[in-house]
């Protein structure tokens, strides 16, 4: 940081949507931070999107409402956007651009870090391992989150993803180690009531102490949403790689992020891709998701849990589709379960945690974890088939074993899947419930687990 500031240009060629085109500029850099000054002296932040022919296209984060070509000036600050970081950011609440909104002063910075982050050297990356306990049975038991993983939640409009996100933020912990754990929570384009719910939920549970909140509200300028996940990840990387903490980053809702990206793309008159999203949506999303991981010789880790709402519950929509290519699995919330009042309404048959196997088992969770999880998958999928069959031939047409599977289906949803919003289950409790569900079946139906585990944990019901 230097004392020398940038030049302020007052020749504005055009204002178009969230973009301001400044004319006659010299020595301006791509991605450079810009301060837009309005006629009444108000300042708004922006960044350079394109430079050429002595013109600079500036994306104004706080929107261009009220700006006019005459009287507006643009000061090119001579640096990219940076986030001041220090341990003091823990327990703080910021807006979508990283400015405090909790009535406390700016944190005293230890460092100023470029919000775009430094790319991780692939050679320095370490494979994600070790378990993060969320206290939510279906995630811990069947879709285990591993330190350094990126595991999104695919939800739909109106479903309970935000309640689940807040519950994970409150309860998540690393077990069996004294390493410090932190949660960075970025709310992107959420309603005021939701933002308040997140804030209160963390405050009342005492979890705010180890959390950092970034709140971009639905009525905040959409363009700010481009920055929110980046400032959040910058803070997460600092906590992980400089302070050695295990950090869980929850980003909700990434659909709002993609919509903001579409807005800018349209204003720049770029050739639209699928559903009007820019052709570089995949690349752009990867610059966010790929910031999860672990680095060799560094103690901490960044684990990401982005949440996105699928428009019309369409899993083939470009946002979930492209997200699924980058991330290591997905947790899908099911509309049917949600309608039945099941919380969390996770449809396990459409969900998967690709690297779960590296975070569970003896020494991490328990020796039978993988096998009992497979057995539950198997039994629940069979229960779904039997339910479909019962819909055609009726219960009377089912065999005794089929009827047992129907019981397993109900038991799985009522005893294992269903959980209180404040219910924090240990991994032992979760595995116990998984055994309880499959214990509704006769022993000879348990084909995915070793006999020694059956002898140890099976209790006929």
């Amino acid at each position: 940081m230097s004392a020398q500031g940038g030049v302020q240009y007052s020749k504005i060629a055009e204002i178009k949507g969230p973009l301001v085109i400044v004319d006659g500029v010299e020595s301006v850099a791509f991605d450079e931070l810009v301060e837009i000054q309005t006629t009444d002296g108000q300042r708004r932040l922006g960044k350079v999107l394109e430079v050429g022919n002595r013109k600079a296209i500036v994306q104004v984060f706080e929107g261009t409402t009220g700006l006019s070509v005459s009287g507006t000036s643009a000061k090119f600050v001579g640096k990219v956007m940076e986030m001041p970081v220090s341990e003091q950011v823990l327990g703080r609440v910021f807006d979508g651009l990283g400015r405090p909104i909790d009535g406390l002063p700016d944190p005293i910075a230890e460092k100023f870090i470029d919000i775009n982050g430094a790319p991780m050297n692939p050679e320095q990356r370490e494979y994600p391992r070790d378990f993060i306990q969320t206290g939510v049975s279906v995630i811990d038991g069947m879709l285990t989150l591993v330190r350094g993983q990126k595991l999104p939640i695919f939800s739909g409009s109106g479903m309970s993803h935000n309640i689940l996100a807040a519950q994970i933020a409150r309860q998540a912990a690393v077990v069996g180690t004294s390493d410090e754990f932190a949660v960075v929570f970025a709310a992107i384009g959420v309603q005021y009531s939701e933002a308040e719910y997140f804030r209160r939920s963390l405050e009342e549970s005492g979890a705010l102490k180890r959390s950092v909140l970034f709140l971009n509200l639905a009525d905040d300028p959409a363009i700010e949403r481009i920055i929110t996940p980046r400032v959040a990840l910058t803070v997460a990387e600092y906590l992980a790689y400089d302070l050695g903490m295990h950090v869980l980053v929850i980003l909700t809702d990434m659909t709002n992020y993609a919509e903001a990206l579409r807005e800018i793309s349209a204003a720049r008159e770029e050739v639209p891709g699928r559903k009007g999203y820019p052709g570089y949506l995949y690349t752009d999303l990867s610059t966010i998701y790929e910031r999860a991981g672990r680095l060799r010789d560094k103690k901490g880790s960044v684990t990401q849990m982005p949440i996105l709402t699928m428009p019309s519950d369409d899993i083939t929509h470009p946002i979930p589709d492209l997200t699924g290519y980058i991330t290591e699995g997905q947790i899908v919330l099911g509309r049917d379960l949600f309608r039945q009042g099941v919380y969390p309404p996770v449809n396990i048959l459409m969900s998967l945690s690709r690297i779960m196997k590296d975070g569970i088992g003896e020494g991490r969770t328990r020796g039978d974890h993988q096998e009992i999880s497979n057995q539950n998958y198997d039994a629940y999928s069979r229960a779904q088939e039997v339910r479909a069959l019962a819909g055609i031939v009726g219960k009377a047409g089912l065999t005794g074993v089929d009827l047992k599977y129907l019981e397993v289906g109900d038991g799985f949803e009522k005893e294992f899947l269903t959980q209180g919003v404040d219910e924090n289950r240990t991994i032992e409790e979760t595995l116990g419930l998984q055994w309880k569900v499959v214990s509704l079946l006769p022993k000879n139906e348990l084909t995915k687990v070793k006999d020694k585990f059956i002898d140890q944990y099976y209790k006929e019901r």
Binding site: Q8, S10, L104, A207
Partner: protein, 197 residues
């Protein structure tokens, strides 16, 4: 007589059988009650353990909540106190800068600020603005910067200059206020470190 004794024997036998049945039923009932009691004991113990575990969990949750909030409250109070002290330091520094002597060193500072502004803006055809106190210092330096003119309007600032290209399209703020503003985050850190933060 013979009939009576046969009847008595029969009654006796029935009574014996009934008694045996009653005793056996009582034994069965006792056994079953004992088994039920034993089972209930286990269930009771399980329930007892469950209630205790849930209570412990709830207590831990409350403890975490109370300690977490208390820690955060005290940290936040500390932050506000440090910030208050930092602001006081800034106020004193600004007061000192305002009353600083405009000697030869100050003239050199203005000269370097002027040169820096011309280099940044890329033209020497500029209009300079400064506060009323520094006008004479800037005026005395104008001969060294051809193309530069001093605006008759004074600006409100601690010191330094603000320049503008003569066509009005570019401005560069090189006042002490602007420089202080830009460096404030770093200065805050230095001041806070003096308070042991």
């Amino acid at each position: 007589m013979g009939v009576d004794s046969a009847l008595e024997r029969t009654v006796e036998k029935i009574l014996q059988n009934t008694e045996q049945q009653i005793v056996s039923s009582l034994k069965e009932a006792l056994k079953s009650s004992q088994a039920t009691l034993a089972n209930s004991q286990a269930t009771l113990e399980q329930e007892h353990d469950k209630i205790l575990a849930e209570g412990k969990k709830e207590a831990e949750k409350l403890e975490k909540q109370i300690i977490g909030n208390a820690d955060l409250d005290s940290r936040n109070k500390q932050l506000l106190l440090v910030e208050e002290s930092i602001e006081k330091v800034f106020e004193k520094a600004i007061a000192k800068l305002q009353s600083a002597e405009r000697g030869s060193d100050y003239s050199k500072l203005i000269s370097s600020l002027l040169q820096e502004s011309i280099d940044t803006i890329g033209t020497s055809e500029i209009i300079i603005q400064t506060n009323s106190k520094d006008k004479s210092v800037v005026q005395s330096l104008l001969s060294k910067f051809s193309g530069a003119t001093l605006s008759s309007d004074a600006i409100e600032c601690l010191g330094g200059i603000r320049v503008q290209s003569k066509d009005g399209t570019m401005k560069f703020d090189n006042t002490i206020d602007a420089r202080l503003d830009r460096l404030k985050p770093l200065i805050r850190k230095d001041i806070a470190s003096k308070f042991g933060r």
